[in-house]
């Protein structure tokens, strides 16, 4: 599209402004995590790694981090299995109510987290508690899996649509039984989509707070929950800032990898 010089300039400015609004606050969080002044006076008076070592030394932070990793890994594992199976079912087979099933799988990502949270909380307490399963890490994992499944499902579905069945037919034609075809053709062609959606699902779970609030029992504290609890304690502020900075880095890496993975495979 050809635009006038003025229009091009205006669009570039708008883009720059948008990016500034999004990324400057994040940059300030990162900078402040090295700010020597406890009250975050601006401009920073000095550089320190004191808050980082304080955060590392805090058992509350370390426990929360470990809980978050376990929750993310669990939810991602469930999502990978169920999401992939659902995508194959929806894309490869015709069955009664297929479109409805497809919609129902995708819906949780559009539902407000607070609604999902309350609903799951009610369900867990009325159904699971009589069996002696209380709210805890397990219920957090199930809660996160409800929306992680969607990302895996969508990614795998898009890949299946793009690759079609041709390669699988070629494999069968060349003498491979269905299991060999899956091992040598279907799975390798899906691999980057699975990895990308797994990373996305993990990132989604890692910073989730609303559903977590309603599905975690009293003893379970994920990293976002720990931040929320300590946010208003003035003497914890620098440590909270460090945790936030660490979260930024930890979330950017999987998203970046996921994008590179889906980017490189789409050029095939």
């Amino acid at each position: 599209m050809n635009l006038s010089r003025g229009a091009r300039l205006a669009l570039r400015l708008a883009l720059a402004l948008g990016l500034v609004v999004i990324y400057v606050p994040l940059a300030i969080v990162l900078l402040n995590s090295f700010n020597a002044d406890r009250t975050f006076a601006w401009p920073p008076t000095g550089f320190t790694t004191r808050w980082w070592s304080a955060a590392w030394g805090s058992s509350g932070v370390r426990d929360a981090l470990w809980t978050s990793v376990k929750a993310g890994a669990g939810a991602t594992a469930i999502a990978l299995v169920l999401g992939t199976m659902a995508a194959f079912a929806v894309q490869r087979h015709r069955f009664f109510g297929r479109d409805t099933v497809s919609l129902l799988i995708v819906l949780p990502i559009a539902l407000p987290g607070i609604v999902t949270g309350i609903a799951l909380n009610n369900a867990f307490r009325t159904i699971l508690e009589p069996f002696g399963v209380g709210l805890g890490l397990f219920t957090v994992i199930v809660g996160h899996a409800t929306f992680c499944v969607v990302t895996v499902h969508n990614n795998v579905l898009a890949r299946l649509r793009r690759t079609g069945r041709n390669a699988e037919e070629a494999s069968a034609d060349l003498g491979a039984d269905p299991f060999t075809t899956f091992r040598l053709v279907t799975f390798p062609m899906m691999r980057s989509a699975l990895l990308a959606s797994g990373l996305l699902a993990f990132a989604l779970s890692f910073d989730e707070i609303i559903v977590t609030t309603f599905t975690a029992g009293a003893g379970v504290r994920t990293l976002p929950i720990w931040i929320f609890e300590n946010l208003f304690r003035p003497n914890q502020a620098p440590v909270v800032n460090v945790v936030a900075a660490a979260l930024i880095v930890l979330s950017v890496v999987p998203i970046y990898l996921a994008q590179r993975l889906s980017g490189t495979t789409s050029t095939h």
Binding site: N166, A167, E169, A170, S171, A172, D173, L174, G175, A176, D177, T180, L184, V185, P188, M189, T267, H268
Partner: protein, 349 residues
């Protein structure tokens, strides 16, 4: 297999083959025998059922009725990987995550052929399609023509009983297509494998195959050698689909040929005489008309002639002694078309 002697000389036998997709009958009863070593074409417009027949032979679709035999053995109920056929797909369907060599070795690998033999046979197959030196490339780094050759090598390396080719040249440009037509033909003679290919291109079918089956609406209209199908089409559909039909019927047939019915003469069999009173030989027929259109095409010119008796005929003439300037001036000229009687044939409507 113990109870009947399988007929080894028939590579493919189809009996009463039918396939319906819901209410649509894509294949409506096909019987066909293809001999060992034949280069056989299934020709027809899109939707005529030819690709569905190919897919039923490969095993990707199961017939609604009828049977498929390969080398005398009934394979109707067998899965694709249990059949001794290989396919060159229309879009080649190369494995994008494997190198050219791995693609070609695939069939041998899943049949547990040893690594050394695998390598040797794959290399030989790549050599036979003139792709040595491309072993390590990925399919994405190849041109359309090269991908097509990899697909050929990948299928042929398994030495199948029958090689199925689904519109093998459809995705190539004209120049490359003409080259590949010759190459495919040579390759088939070399390997001696039965080639069964699907095409909608009548010229491709005429130039490459030993025999042609012309498909229309799920049925075979005619089976024969290229010359038989072209010179003696048995139905109006075949006459129209393979070449230009040039029909003379009704009053015109009575006036020009002195007979009732529908007749066809191929455009290149007609001689264009610039003199409306040109003599007509004893074994010839003639018709007077006016040149309505002249299409100059370099080596030849097509004339559209409106007959005085009714109807219009297409004439194809080599530009042996004339130039474009001279032929285009013929528009509106009174001419006489003359042809040998043995080139006109009756069409069963």
């Amino acid at each position: 297999m113990f109870f009947s002697m399988p007929d080894q000389s028939v590579a493919v036998r189809l009996r009463g083959l039918r396939k319906s997709f819901g209410p649509v009958e894509a294949v409506a009863g096909v019987d066909l025998e293809i001999a060992d070593g034949e280069f056989f074409a299934m020709l027809g417009p899109s939707g005529s059922g030819k690709t569905t027949v190919l897919r039923m032979i490969a095993g990707f679709e199961s017939p609604t009725a009828g049977s498929v035999e390969l080398g005398g053995r009934d394979v109707t109920r067998l899965a694709p990987f249990e059949r001794d056929v290989n396919t060159v797909f229309q879009d080649y369907a190369l494995f994008p995550h494997m190198s050219v060599l791995d693609n070609v070795e695939y069939g041998l690998r899943v049949k547990k052929v040893g690594r050394a033999e695998r390598r040797e046979r794959a290399t030989a197959a790549l050599r036979s399609v003139r792709l040595e030196g491309f072993e390590r490339r990925g399919p994405a780094q190849l041109s359309g023509g090269q991908r097509q050759r990899v697909a050929l090598a990948r299928a042929l390396v398994n030495r199948p009983r029958v090689l199925l080719l689904d519109e093998p040249l459809g995705a190539l440009d004209l120049k490359l297509r003409e080259e590949m037509q010759v190459e495919l033909k040579e390759l088939q003679r070399e390997v001696g494998i039965t080639f069964l290919f699907v095409t909608h291109d009548q010229e491709e079918a005429l130039t490459m195959s030993d025999r042609i089956a012309v498909f229309d609406r799920g049925r075979i209209e005619q089976v024969g050698t290229p010359a038989e199908v072209y010179e003696r089409p048995s139905t109006p559909f075949v006459a129209g689909f393979v070449g230009t039909s040039n029909l003379i019927s009704g009053e015109a047939a009575k006036a020009v040929l002195g007979r009732d019915g529908t007749f066809s003469v191929r455009p290149e069999k007609l001689r264009l005489a610039l003199d409306a009173d040109a003599p007509v030989g004893a074994d010839e027929h003639g018709a007077i008309g006016t040149v309505a259109e002249v299409v100059y095409a370099g080596a030849a010119t097509r004339f559209v002639v409106d007959l005085d008796a009714g109807g219009r005929l297409m004439v194809l003439q080599q530009n042996r002694d004339v130039s474009s300037m001279e032929v285009t001036e013929l528009r509106g000229a009174r001419v006489r078309l003359v042809w040998n009687r043995r080139h006109e044939f009756a069409i069963v409507p």
